[in-house]
Symmetry: C2
Subunit: 188 residues, 2 copies
Amino acid sequence: MKYGFDNVSIKHIQEESGFTAGSIYYYFKDKDEILQYMVNKYLIASFHKMKEKVLDSNGSLMEKIEIIFNFGDSPIITEVESQDILDKFPINYREFWVMYTSIYHHHPEIRPDFCKLCDESHDFYYGLVQEAINKKEIRDDIDIEELIMFIKTILKGYLVLIVFQSNLPSEYLLKANMKLLYEAIKRR
Amino acid sequence: MKYGFDNVSIKHIQEESGFTAGSIYYYFKDKDEILQYMVNKYLIASFHKMKEKVLDSNGSLMEKIEIIFNFGDSPIITEVESQDILDKFPINYREFWVMYTSIYHHHPEIRPDFCKLCDESHDFYYGLVQEAINKKEIRDDIDIEELIMFIKTILKGYLVLIVFQSNLPSEYLLKANMKLLYEAIKRR
DNA sequence: GTCTATAGTTAGATAGAC
DNA sequence: GTCTATCTAACTATAGAC
């Protein structure tokens, strides 16, 4: 998270982890395998945690979307047995996502994981939107696929703006997006 | 654009440019200065080109926003005297932006340019929105600052989704965003 | 399973001829 | 202004002792 994946060296990892390069290569066949491991463990596990949190909330669609907006601030989590290190050195989900996208072009091997996440998130949003229509929370003349794309766009844009335009206070940005998104989909 | 800035070596540049390392270092004191040069020349010039294109269009706010959406596809441009190379090897603005953000963390020296762009874009959007309200194209009970944040969020999210979720057809994504953005701001 | 030591390669950068 | 030749430092990865 400090250097970005391509700019962190095995020697950096050696110093921070307390293991020597020899030990690190005992567990991972090369540097790329460390990346693969992290993406699998952290990004995907965090996405599932987010889904869980949303589905447990029992709120309205807008309340659920607010949970997703705020999930960027959450620390990355993983399975119980490997959680120790993440408790000691928490990693922000949003920053992790940005680090991850920054290597997207140079590491095509991680793209399948990314695609899997996108597909899963589509199905997830579909469920949320369908439920909101059934409960008459939002207009029912809305195209579900269009709304999913709109929500995805706003969530991604929010995440990116928070990171790259830090002079925008996140609470105002969140409020503005929530308010205007609701204007677009509310029953009239 | 092929390797990303940190992963491209002077030797790569040597091969592609036809100049040797010695010559390259005659013009640039170090590799970072090449980056500075590109950001200044390309990113900022392209933003001004986009503004120009929008202001010349004389369309409605939504038509102007559509121009901005589509600007990601445009080739990067610069001043007339250095345009030759970009004509021969066009660079997509959207891809350039992504390459640029991918080095944001590791190259703090380029952040001031980024801030300048964000500030300029705020003033630019403010003008567009104010004009649309005056012309009664959109609701006048809308908070301008909130709408600017909303528009910025959607434009940025669109750009990111196009790059990282390429299975989403851009024309549908554009249409969905335009339609729902308009739903949020249209006069009722 | 962890270490030391180091191989082999490539990186960014420079000196000096032309 | 461009080149050749080369330096030093850093990198990934491995061999082999313990």
